[in-house]
Amino acid sequence: MGHCILTVDDSSTMRQMITFTLKGAGFEVLEAGDGVEALEVAKGKKLSLVVTDVNMPRMDGITLVQRLRALPEFKFTPILVLTTESDASMKQKGKEAGATGWIVKPFSPEKLLEVVNKVL
């Protein structure tokens, strides 16, 4: 059975680029437009990885990481933050929330796949 990855971003272009890259590598990909939708999509799913943006409407990425980590089924699921934010204090917040890694946009498909394969 292949890996299922949830990608969360309010930009449909970003979601498409991430999905294009991951599906091209053979992964199953689910999409959500913000943290709230991500929690709904993730409910009852067996996810191998979550890739989330930070700045999103309704629920930001850092809060989403905290909420997912509070759920037993996502306690050890790798979560990568993919954002334009590169500030050290924001990274620290992500780390404290329980993120596995931090990728600054824009991403290169090759690099994203390298990181994804490393954390899976």
């Binding site: 930009s11 334009t84 590169s86 500030d87 600054v104 946009k105 690099k111 490393k118």
Partner: protein, 354 residues
């Protein structure tokens, strides 16, 4: 770390105006507010200018990269088409000087046809040759037996002749009583002579048959030699076909390697396209920050308009200025302190695994 604005906010102490402030105090307060507003405006211009320049830079870079990537993709795809055509051509092998070309399937079919033809021919010739050899051997044996029989006939003729000679001698001894016997002996002698002549003729015929058999043997050897020539020719043709196939395989292998290299190049260009298309998100976030700042400018303008309206309606200047200062403070506090997008380029961002 790049802040939205670098200048220190001109937030001085509260106005603290008396209900009825002297004109000098009002003028001073007004000057302070004007300075604060000027500082805010400067900070906002300092923020908006690089943000908008960044948008321009990102859009230009994305457009340039996309254009180059698409041109490169177009070249790669055209190259791919040409290579595929070359592969197809390489797989159509011309057979030894023939203008006709055929694919790998008919190429294999040609080899099999040649070999089957050869085998069929060899098999037929082999069967015929075996039959011929068998017949020749049979004739040779019969001929040998005839020779033996002729030798016996010759011996009988010799003995008959001797017998007739003895009979003639005995007839001479018997004088007049042997006259009839001498006639018989003479006839027997004649028969013996005819028998000897016939035997000799037959011997000649048998020798002629033997010579014919030797010639037949020679013909059989010639046929066998022709079979060998045909086999060698077929072998040569098969080797030529196999060499042509090997050469074709070499060409196809080289072309497939080029196709793989081309595919890698296309994949790389697609990666550039994926990276460049993310400019939409970067530009969107930058423009949202600009709009937020423009909203602040709008609110500042409205705060000044409210002062103007209040003063026009007879509101005490001190109260109006105090309200304006309070509002400007609120607007300043609500401003985002960090740029939404730090990267002014579309180069891939850094990765940090915790």
């Amino acid at each position: 770390m790049s802040r939205w604005f670098s200048s220190t906010p001109a937030s001085g102490p509260a106005l603290g105006l008396e209900p009825v402030a002297p004109a000098a105090a009002l003028g001073e307060a007004l000057l302070r507010l004007a300075a604060r507003e000027a500082a805010m405006l400067e900070g906002q211009v300092n923020f908006l200018t690089p943000e908008l320049l960044q948008v321009d830079s990102l859009v230009r870079e994305a457009a340039g990269t996309l254009e180059e990537a698409l041109r490169s993709l177009d070249r790669s795809v055209q190259g791919q088409h040409a290579l595929v055509e070359e592969v197809q051509a390489a797989m159509n092998i011309s057979l030894e000087g023939s203008q006709e070309s055929s694919g790998t399937a008919s190429f294999g079919h040609a080899i099999m046809g040649t070999l089957e033809h050869l085998l069929g021919h060899m098999s037929e010739i082999s069967e015929s040759t075996e039959l011929l050899v068998s017949e020749v051997n049979d004739i040779r044996e019969r001929s040998q037996r005839m020779e033996n029989m002729l030798e016996e006939v010759a011996e009988i003729a010799g003995r008959t002749h001797l017998l007739s000679l003895n009979a003639s001698i005995e007839a001479a001894h018997a004088r007049q009583f042997g006259a009839g016997f001498a006639v018989v002996a003479g006839e027997v002698s004649k028969l013996a002579d005819r028998s000897t002549a016939l035997s000799s003729t037959l011997q000649e015929q048998v020798q002629g048959t033997r010579l014919a058999l030797e010639r037949t043997d020679a013909h059989v050897h010639t046929i066998a030699s022709k079979d060998l020539n045909l086999a060698q020719k077929s072998r040569g043709e098969s080797e030529a076909l196999v060499k042509a196939l090997e050469a074709s395989n070499g060409t196809v292998t080289g072309l497939v390697a080029q196709l793989e290299a081309n595919a890698r190049q296309i994949s790389e260009q697609v990666g550039h396209v994926v990276r460049s298309l993310q400019f939409e998100d970067l530009v969107h976030q930058t423009l949202m920050a600009c709009l937020k700042e423009l909203g602040n400018l709008q609110e500042q303008a409205e705060a000044w308009k409210a002062l103007e309206a209040g003063l026009g309606a007879g509101e005490p200047a001190a109260a109006g200025l105090a309200r304006l200062e309070g509002r400007l403070g609120e607007i300043e506090a609500s401003r985002v302190q960090f740029r939404a997008v730090k990267s002014g380029t579309l180069e891939a961002g850094e990765v940090d695994l915790f």
